[in-house]
Symmetry: C2
Subunit: 286 residues, 2 copies
Amino acid sequence: MRVAVIGVGLIGGSFAKDMKKLWPETNILGMDSNQDHLREALDLGLIDEKSDYEALSEVDMVLVTIPVNALVMELPKILDATGEETVVIDAGSTKSLICETLENHPKRRNFLACHPIAGTEFSGPSAAIEGLYKDKTNIICEVEKTAFKLQERALELFQAMGMRIRYMNPVAHDKHIAYVSHLSHISSFMLGKTVIEKEKNERDIFDMAGSGFESTVRLAKSSPDMWTPIFEQNKDNVVETLEEYIQNLEQFKQLLLDGDFEKVYNEMNNTNRIKQILKGIPLTKL
Amino acid sequence: MRVAVIGVGLIGGSFAKDMKKLWPETNILGMDSNQDHLREALDLGLIDEKSDYEALSEVDMVLVTIPVNALVMELPKILDATGEETVVIDAGSTKSLICETLENHPKRRNFLACHPIAGTEFSGPSAAIEGLYKDKTNIICEVEKTAFKLQERALELFQAMGMRIRYMNPVAHDKHIAYVSHLSHISSFMLGKTVIEKEKNERDIFDMAGSGFESTVRLAKSSPDMWTPIFEQNKDNVVETLEEYIQNLEQFKQLLLDGDFEKVYNEMNNTNRIKQILKGIPLTKL
């Protein structure tokens, strides 16, 4: 099988690692706007050769793992360049604008809109890890718009990689992912900001930080290049979740100010059931 | 050495485990208002025998690892009951009210006010783990008020357990810990609440949650029995950090609404330096 990976960072590189392991004979072409990343991916053995869109007419599968603003720009050109029997798969964290953009593309049937819920706070080819996708959820949108044979080829890969598949429409995807992913990133970035601002005057504050703080602020290490366009494309949903979050924080603050610690207790006690909910989430241990 | 551990949960139980390993001949008396925990601690071998305050006159060291509201109630009685050469150590996450409460106690010199920055989101004797305190910071307040010989005895234990020591006054402790610990817990609890509220109507939302969400919401599993009195005692500082956090979230929301994604990018990019800061924080890997 000939595969092209466009964007050889954490997401694309981890796909490449798994494919190399599952099907060692796979020939992987790498493309990236960042020449350093491309060279690094080649050195790390994630890809077999550097290539460009001209080669897309001769590959069986294209994995497009680039920021969501670049997806909207590049996916139409990529589909233009691919063969009739090529499946083009994205991994963007937003789905509505991407699906809208490609709605009337003559090769819409060659595209499979995906969002594998996997990743770490690191980025670039050196962040790629084998098995990143094992037991993770892959959300596929508008599956009915993809040619059946091409769906099958993609699913064979996802299943071999150990992913579980969920089907969803792009609007529902963007609404829900705002809660369980995009909001977490903002809460973490702003927690980091709040504490760093304090630290300006108080150098020793981080000596007092423990693993609880580290866990809560982990996502604040994430790449702004990846996350800015996600927030831009999913702005309406993200603002809505942010409003609900701020409202809950305000309410908690008011309970503290009122000295109503019975309700403070109940707020936390009710939220403790997150324990049961989290048991179902497979984790990436680094 | 004879040691009493009052409160045989995660914190006290982990102290007991380390002491048993470091000095196998140590005799550990356990006390707890929860009889089930006491029985469990005995079954797990964390303590050698159940005991009560009457035995405190004959021990060398007392570790008081109970919620901070109970500390304020019990520490004066515990000091009343201990011998002249006993060192009483607490592990509370607030320090001001505790130090004030004991300020004029006739046995103030027997007390060492400590806050080991260590823990997990779990609780109870079964959550106790060996090596929990290795490489963690232990903040000691008002060290000058503790008898020198008793300081030494406590430091010998902390050093053998691998802790690093920082000295701080109780007011500064409570102010700073609000940022790096107490605020993280609220941000996490309210994130959990926001997503759970949504899930009422949308059962499938957690299928979409990944390890990023899990990390950010981890502290929402924490015990309300432990955290309610912490927020009560440190209310003023916690409300202040919460106001700053909400203000940062509001500002980020406004940038989204204004469509100013250059500033959104900069906000995240500036906060990325949390990476360097976090490198210095030793983690508890479970």
